[in-house]
Symmetry: C2
């Protein structure tokens, strides 16, 4: 392109896609993909948002891609017809990420299940986007290596990269942004590119890898991921410990991290959640805040870490501890934490909890959790809290009868106050769930107009037709 | 802006800035900044590239900024007149990053020395761009915290962020991309924005922080940085150990990392460098490859790490070890490594080594180092090698008489072969030095046309006037 002459401005999607264009695309996809193109209502609805209360907005068609080239072909076709494309992994996102507000084609990546390479000496592996985190670790079972990021759900690696996922291990191993070496991406023009080599670090140009991680399919579609791996620790020890207050638990965590104890997981459950655990699993615990912990290292290292942690916790009134080192005992101990979604439902049978998350500087975590619990109580809302407390990130899951408009209104207001409380404390409106549709309104509260405009400039420059998951994140 | 109508295309710098525009800017800067605007030849040349053989291309003027607002005012003025702006920290970059090929104004940030906040509970601090890494750690001395990234030179934090610097501690603590929570940036329009909150993680939109880290001043100017901090380890132990071959040393490193030993530094010196150490400090070492190591942790943890490492090294023929735990002994032991630049000069007195770096997957490191050493010997070039071997990143510093054109030509060819060797082994043309001017030609060899075009799209979108450090990185 001659850079001195402006190109003709490309057509750009600003409202629902043209039905004729959708029909043309669907016909062409059927011809190319046969029965991998599905337009049944059930499958389309399953590929719209299915969790929480964000309304389901199904795509017009679902196509099951098997390769990067498939994705490129689909994107090219949709680009030609100005039809949206929405990447779909396992559908476990929580903020309306996979809805199709302007219609379009959902590209389901769940058949892209190949583990393309494992490089044990380099501690990395290359996987297709549809491989789930459990499948990665299953495949690695005999190598002595593992991939640590665990957002709870058995999400696809592509989806985890696209939403910058993290979870319980992030305090030690970081988030997806820290554990991806490079990506293969299909651009909004349907071109295929790699963002980086397998070198562990590089200063060669702009960080395209991190640009796509967390972009939620709005700048391109991630089809292959090179993941960092870690040696499975020689020893793992898990524990639970209760505290007189959320503040005491948080202060314990702050002190632990400050002295550099390399704790692998440190999860908070508030008193209401402990009540739910008691309901669910008859644990007979005191209804007081609780930490779930895990230590990774050598035998001696783990022994030392647990002893140090015990001393710190004791100084803040924590105890008694329940320890587990054998795998089966550890699993039992973590089972309560993993079952938290079901446990929370016991607090109000027949009603689903609605998950949201915020993340604040850890010094403000106790305040944020405590004020949120008070707000819930004053508002007559059951809103149990669990958190990745080492990162200042917590989840609040109000139990709401979605058929009661007054209650929905009350909970919506409560959640707005929660996000604003997090932002006022110097935090972010989402630590790991992402923006999707539901948190777009907070983007301008968290980011300055100039920062948000910069994001929009990037979106417009990379996706001038506005076909990549439109109506999400920074919606231009 | 109405998004449906294209704005008038802004004027765009494509060749050397107009002398009249430079004069107008210089006059306005003199009026605004008084004697903080300097145009003397000596100062201008000192603000062009001064290290290695890339020719010095001085800016037309140097202005010493004291605040983010100063930087914003300068950028606005330059944008109005289509005059380049080049950020300058300590001038320790190695690939021509601070040259002014199209003329323009160097914004010297070295007076921006404020440490704006330290948050011990959150393990972070906020500093102005001109603060150096040693100044950060000096300021933190009594807090029990430290900032680990150490690229060797006492570089400014702003420059380290802009070039995605790393260094000896990266194997444990990561690079600048892993240790910055957020940035204050002046955009090419002279607007001020923050890229992120102080939350430890976020999924709220595009990763602007990582976009600016490593962008070398071509997308905006970093004026403030929020850094992650760490607790000073209770125990630190350092060691050196020699090996029969580079491969034996590399295999030791691979095995160490695979079993998850959290080694803090692991540096390789080749046999030629060991000869240089002997020349420089009369160490009387065997002329064989050598590792410099450092372990961080608790007393017991470090003792265990060192024992494990000793066993692994022995299995690869490594030894004898020299250990140091007291600070003064550690300093003495690391002194040789820190003096490597001076030591290398003893190999050919009167001639300066020219530093470059590549980074490969660690499984290829031994091959890459060995082949490079063979190439140097066959080419009659003295090219000692030191490396951040835990990351697969190494530096090669050929000693070249820059007044001998034949020798310069020969070394240039040798360095090209080095970069291509790294790329062929799946690596990057630079692990930590950056692209600047000197490595631009490798961008298209490392990145695909689509990836490079994406970087250029970003550059054009964010800096449509092409005034931000033009002629560097992706030069559009």
């Amino acid at each position: 392109m001659n850079e001195m002459t402006a190109p003709p401005r490309a057509a750009r999607l600003t409202s629902h896609a043209d039905p004729a264009a959708i029909e043309a695309v669907t016909r062409a996809l059927a011809a190319r993909f046969g029965n991998r193109l599905v337009t049944s209502q059930a499958v389309r609805e399953q590929h719209g948002h299915t969790l929480t209360w964000t309304p389901n907005e199904p795509p017009d068609a679902v196509v099951y891609a098997q390769s990067t080239e498939d994705v490129a072909d689909i994107v090219k076709l949709c680009a030609d017809h100005l039809v949206p494309v929405i990447a779909f992994g396992t559908g476990t996102s929580l903020e309306g990420h996979v809805n199709a507000p302007l219609g379009g084609v959902s590209i389901d990546l769940s058949m892209m299940k190949s583990i393309l390479a494992v490089h044990p000496e380099d501690l990395d592996c290359v996987v297709q986007a549809g491989v789930t985190r459990k499948e990665v670790n299953e495949h690695l079972r005999d190598t002595g290596l593992f991939f640590p990021i665990d957002p709870g759900a058995d999400a696809s690696i592509g989806g985890m990269a696209a939403t910058r996922a993290s979870g319980t291990n992030a305090v030690r191993y970081g988030t997806m942004k820290d554990n991806v070496l490079g990506l293969t991406v299909v651009t909004p023009e349907g071109e295929i590119l790699k963002t980086a080599t397998r070198a562990k670090k590089s200063s060669a140009g702009y960080d395209l890898t991190r640009l796509f991680i967390g972009s939620e399919g709005t700048l391109g579609i991630i089809t292959e991921i090179t993941l960092k791996l870690y040696g499975i620790p020689e020893a793992i020890s898990a524990a639970t410990c209760q505290f007189p207050s959320v503040k005491a638990a948080c202060d314990t965590v702050i002190e632990t991290i400050q002295i550099g104890l390399p704790i692998a997981r440190i999860e908070l459950a508030d008193a209401l959640t402990v009540r739910a655990f008691n309901n669910h699993a008859k644990l007979g615990l005191v209804e007081a805040p609780m930490l779930f912990l895990e230590f990774h290292g050598t035998e001696a290292g783990v022994a030392e870490q647990t002893q140090r942690f015990g001393e710190i916790a004791e100084g803040h009134g924590g105890g008694p501890f329940q320890w587990a080192t054998k795998p089966e005992d550890r699993s039992r101990l973590w089972q309560a934490r993993h079952d938290v979604y079901w446990a929370h439902q016991t607090l109000r049978p027949g009603v689903r909890p609605l998950a949201t998350d915020v993340c604040v500087p850890i010094s403000r975590l106790a305040d944020c959790v405590t004020e949120t619990a008070c707000d819930a109580e004053e508002s007559g809302i059951l809103a149990p809290i669990v958190g990745h407390v080492g990162d200042g990130n917590f989840h609040c899951g109000p139990l709401v009868d979605v058929n009661d408009p007054d209650e929905v209104e009350s909970v919506k207001n409560f959640l707005e106050r929660l996000v604003r409380r997090g932002l006022e404390m110097g935090g972010t409106c989402t630590g790991e769930h992402g923006i999707g549709q539901a948190k777009m309104k907070y983007m301008l509260e968290e980011h300055s107009p100039a920062a948000l405009e910069l994001m929009r400039t990037i979106k417009r420059a990379l996706d001038p037709k506005n076909i990549m998951n439109p109506g999400k994140v920074v919606a231009v």
